[in-house]
């Protein structure tokens, strides 16, 4: 089977979760299904970041940082390279207007429709037409969670039978064995971590509010944010400066190396996920793998991922989050039980399973 893969929407290091999801899934297909040929169509920069995908690379040049240019190349250039394939899989949530058929599309989430206030009006207007249009034309739609699948069915009016849930192809990322330079930041203080780009829906300010209350009971506890700047970067920074001008209990480290992040995920006492919207929430799964208890919002896909292994809380009451986190920080037994349950639950997702499901979906379309 020959599958053309459209990753031309990807700018390495910019979109975060969906890059991670797409690249890992495709690598798992290459690892576990040598009979499938992948022709990856993407901008040159992507292959530089992910040489594993280079095998049958179709490179697109040009000013990739310019969104209209990317949209134009998707329609004009991508179809030229996909016509020899048995099918084309578009990982960017959208099927370009002149795409070859059959076509499969991965919709990571439909946040621009669910939360238009977080996006520019141009982008929302564009996607409001493009998403339902793509969904209608797709032979199959893949989503990372059942929750996104349900949103797609409800919001885009797609029949359930055309949607497949393909979870992320997670391996276990290595955890550095020695405490490294992070120790100088964290000391031996109880550590709450939220690794996430500062987008509005990630809800950093809610966690800051809860942390102010935690601080009153546990002045030794430290909240660490990691992740690059998003659309809410300024208000988040301003809020941190307002409640904790000396950096006594909240630190924002910005984007950090993957190995440092894995070390922090493993060393943290709690990982908190106050997001209002997540298509998957990979760091929650990675925290569970590393044996770190997760406190997450009872929202979006988080209950599906974290389940009964974590502590799920409604997003209407920062006081309740604070109480729960203070209790957890002092209850080693409960943290160990949650960590154990999380590590066992994390085994539900694997690269072998995810790639097998994806290849099955492709075969279904081709046959």
């Amino acid at each position: 089977m020959r599958v053309a893969v459209n990753l031309s929407f990807l700018l390495p290091g910019v979109v975060g979760g969906s890059e991670e999801y797409s690249v890992r899934l495709l690598r798992a297909v290459l690892d576990h299904h040598p009979d499938v040929r992948l022709d990856v169509v993407a901008h040159d920069a992507l292959f530089q970041s992910h040489p594993a995908l280079e095998q049958n690379a179709v490179r697109i040049g040009g000013p990739v940082g310019v969104r209209p240019y990317r949209i134009l190349t998707e329609s004009l250039v991508v179809p030229r390279h996909t016509r020899h394939a048995d099918l084309t899989h578009h990982f960017g949530g959208r099927i370009p207007s002149r795409a070859t058929s059959p076509a499969v599309v991965t919709i990571h989430d439909i946040q621009p429709l669910d939360m238009p206030e977080n996006f520019s009006s141009t982008k929302t207007a564009f996607l409001r037409r493009a998403l339902p249009n793509s969904a209608r034309r797709a032979d199959l739609i893949c989503t990372p969670t059942r929750w996104v699948a349900d949103r797609v069915v409800e919001r885009l009016g797609v029949p359930e039978a055309r949607v497949r849930v393909i979870g992320p192809a997670v391996g276990r990322r290595p955890i550095p064995s020695e405490r490294d330079s992070m120790a100088s930041v964290t000391g031996n203080r109880p550590l709450i971590l939220f690794p996430s780009v500062t987008h509005p829906h990630k809800n950093h300010r809610f966690l800051i509010d809860a942390m102010v209350r935690v601080h009153q009971h546990r002045p030794d506890a430290l909240l660490i944010f990691t992740g690059g700047p998003g659309l809410a970067a300024e208000p988040v920074a301003a809020e941190i400066a307002r409640v904790d001008p000396d950096g006594a209990f909240i630190r924002h480290l910005g984007r950090i190396d993957e190995s440092l992040l894995m070390g922090l995920l493993a060393d943290a006492d709690l990982v908190a996920f106050p997001s209002r919207y997540e298509g998957f929430g990979l760091p929650a799964l990675e925290a569970m793998q590393a044996g770190t208890p997760v406190v997450a919002a009872n929202a979006a896909c988080l209950p599906e991922v974290v389940g009964d292994a974590g502590c799920l809380l409604p997003l209407d009451d920062p006081e309740r989050w604070a109480i729960e986190m203070v209790e957890l920080l002092s209850d080693t037994d409960r943290r160990a039980r949650m960590a154990a349950a999380g590590s066992v639950r994390a085994e539900n997702w694997s690269a072998v399973d995810a790639s097998a499901r994806l290849v099955d979906a492709w075969r279904e379309v081709v046959s």
């Binding site: 276990r172 020695e178 044996g291 160990a336 039980r337 590590s343």
Partner: protein, 385 residues
């Protein structure tokens, strides 16, 4: 259905070949060495690393240590070149995952495994024949000496051992009898006593240690973690009433539930944890060892003191009686007057204790780590076959 080798997951290193053992392949044993990272490693850790080293010295088994994820080196730094595989979970979570969910499987981390050895405490899932060492069943007899959480943990470990162990290794007849009376069939029990190696001391070592701890000529030594089971309070009480002038040196780290209050007026002095390199000379300098533990699985300090020619005042009612035999003074550890009389005999007749010490060192020569290694290796072969 997943192939066996596929189910190991994606983070394994080492041997990837599927398990199809030929007679020329040495059995691969994964043994838990987590106790080396305990805050107070104690006899469990010491006996584990020395037993494993003795098995390795015979060259017939591949041993790999198993431990939780740690950010620092082990507290008991005697692992030498033993390869250790760290599972990805920290200790509390790993123990919980193993005991509650019986996951993650050991082979996922270490590849092919022919024997899994739970060396005391946590019981990994039985993904290969399982050997479990039970040091003692103190938590059943004296739960008040443990935290509630500790009792829950050890109860679960004992249940798992009963249900899943192919062979249960015990260090003494005392523990073997205790296991039998708690429902473990004799057919599954193997008694593998520990060993001690006599350290040949030079005059320099003797002088150095005597000066370092300011040791008197004649004194009684207590050595052990300060916890209720070691019965230190009774020893101090007996000392106060029967032989208050006899110097008593208390060595060993603070455990829990009991801190030593030394009376500056009495001849009692606590010297804290003693580094390994000073131990032999400290035993050698002592006139007698006092080790009136209420319950022991073996009682390594008694044997180590004997190896250096120092006999023990110890319990007649637990495993230390097997170790000391007729070289020690065996007393009921709850009988303060008997304990007092034994201490008094050290003060009144030190020469008799020199003679006891000579016999003790002869008896100690019967217990060697080489013998431990041979017996444990035979257990591995038995279950791997």
């Amino acid at each position: 259905m997943k192939m066996r080798w596929e189910a190991r997951g994606d983070d394994i290193g080492g041997d990837r070949t599927p398990s199809c053992q030929t007679p020329t392949v040495r059995p691969r044993v994964a043994a838990v060495v987590e106790s080396c990272w305990h805050r107070v490693p104690g006899g469990t850790a010491t006996s584990t690393v020395r037993s494993l080293a003795a098995v390795r010295a015979r060259g017939a088994h591949d041993i790999v240590g198993l431990a939780a994820r740690h950010s620092g080196p082990p507290v008991l730094d005697e692992l030498g070149d033993l390869p250790v595989e760290h599972l990805h979970l920290p200790r509390a979570a790993l123990y919980e995952a193993w005991h509650r969910f019986r996951r993650p499987p050991v082979p996922r981390r270490v590849g092919r495994v022919d024997v899994i050895h739970a060396t005391g405490g946590v019981i990994p899932p039985r993904s290969a024949p399982l050997v479990v060492t039970i040091h003692d069943l103190a938590f059943l007899h004296r739960p008040e000496h443990f935290t509630a959480q500790g009792v829950r943990f050890m109860t679960r470990a004992f249940e798992l051992a009963q249900a899943e162990a192919d062979v249960i290794v015990v260090p003494s007849e005392t523990t073997a009898a205790d296991c039998r009376s708690h429902g473990i069939d004799q057919g599954r029990l193997r008694t593998v006593p520990w060993g001690a190696t006599r350290v040949e001391l030079g005059e320099k070592d003797r002088v150095r240690v005597r000066a370092r701890y300011d040791l008197p000529d004649c004194f009684v030594l207590f050595l052990g973690t300060h916890e209720p089971r070691k019965n230190l309070a009774a020893l101090l009480e007996a000392h106060r009433s029967a032989a208050p002038d006899l110097p008593l040196i208390i060595a060993g780290p603070d455990g829990w539930g009991e801190s030593v209050r030394t009376d500056p007026a009495a001849a009692v002095r606590a010297i804290g944890r003693v580094p390994a390199e000073d131990l032999a000379a400290l035993y050698d300098a002592a006139t007698a060892l006092a080790y009136p533990s209420l319950l022991e699985g073996f009682g390594l300090p008694v044997l180590e003191a004997m190896a250096q020619g120092t006999a023990a005042i110890t319990s007649a009612t637990t495993s230390t009686a097997e170790v000391a035999g007729d070289t020690g003074v065996l007393v009921d550890p709850t009988d303060l007057s008997a304990l007092g009389a034994a201490l008094e005999s050290v003060a009144s007749d030190p020469d008799a204790w020199v003679e006891r010490g000579r016999r003790a060192s002869q008896r100690a020569a019967l217990f060697t780590w080489a013998a431990t290694g041979a017996a444990l290796g035979a257990v591995y072969d038995e279950v791997a076959a």
